[in-house]
Amino acid sequence: MKRLLPSPLLTLALLVIWLLLNQTVAPLHVLFGLLLGLIIPRLTLPLRPTQTRLRKPWVLFRLLSWSLLEILRSCFNVSRIILFRKQQDLNSQFIRVPLDLKDATGLAVLSCLINSTPGTVWVEILSDSHELSLHVFDLHDANWWIDTIKQRYERPLIEIFEQEQA
């Protein structure tokens, strides 16, 4: 079972993509999608060095829905700033956030979420101190940002991806 299905989530995702592209649920297409889903993960197995298992999908779901709300909220904030704020008042800064998260997949998800949220852009992880360098569009309180990222984003990700090692 493990050899046949190295990553069941990827198989499922490929099947769904195939069905969406063809806009059908005809049995033939389901079969072909399953075939693709069986072959492609095995071919790309060497390309994915770290195997991650998704634990606690409900935490991930909660994190994603919370960050969707956050994206909407900061969209309005950024639009308001672009339209109405004087440009001299803008306080755009680089800030540094110390990170505890080590898992590569978790860091990838974290970077996607942070970059999707308007107003923040991930720059890089400083490798010597494991700090995240982040650019904020309109900084009012650096500690608030650090707290938000650590509480809202990092803690659920640690729960999802790193629970076993702890």
């Binding site: 639009s79 672009i82 339209l83 970077s111 942070i114 308007p118």
Partner: protein
């Protein structure tokens, strides 16, 4: 010019119109931010609202409209949504890192040039 259908139910038309208006306004605001913000590190935040909110609105409108038009659920716009949501952060991060590296490199170059100028010139005799 346009080939719109004869009629559209009201429950479908109003959300589609609203989403189109919101999406186009947000896209315009994002491009305006790209144009008039003074510094590059501020300008990179302008298009991000275009990419998340604008794209979301237009894709939702398209999904609703075709679902109502064809009388069956049409959800393949979700593919573009997922693709854009996965790739836009990557390209934003790469552009940002390229900008930071280039700026750092320029600063280094300037610093070394200044250093060379401030050094006393070797005597030639």
């Amino acid at each position: 010019m346009m080939q719109l259908p004869e009629s559209l139910p009201l429950w479908l038309g109003i959300p589609v119109v609203f989403l189109l208006l919101a999406g186009s306004l947000v896209t315009l605001i994002g491009a305006l931010g790209l144009l008039r913000l003074p510094h590059f590190y501020q300008r990179i935040h302008g298009p991000s609202i275009t990419i998340t909110f604008g794209t979301g609105c237009f894709l939702l409108a398209s999904m609703l409209y075709f679902t109502g038009l064809e009388q069956r659920p049409i959800v393949h716009e979700l593919l573009i949504t997922a693709f854009v949501l996965l790739t836009a952060p990557v390209s934003a991060m790469l552009i940002m890192r390229a900008a930071v590296y280039r700026d750092l490199r320029n600063e280094n170059k300037k610093a070394t040039e200044n250093l060379h100028q401030s050094l006393p010139k070797p005597k030639t005799d």
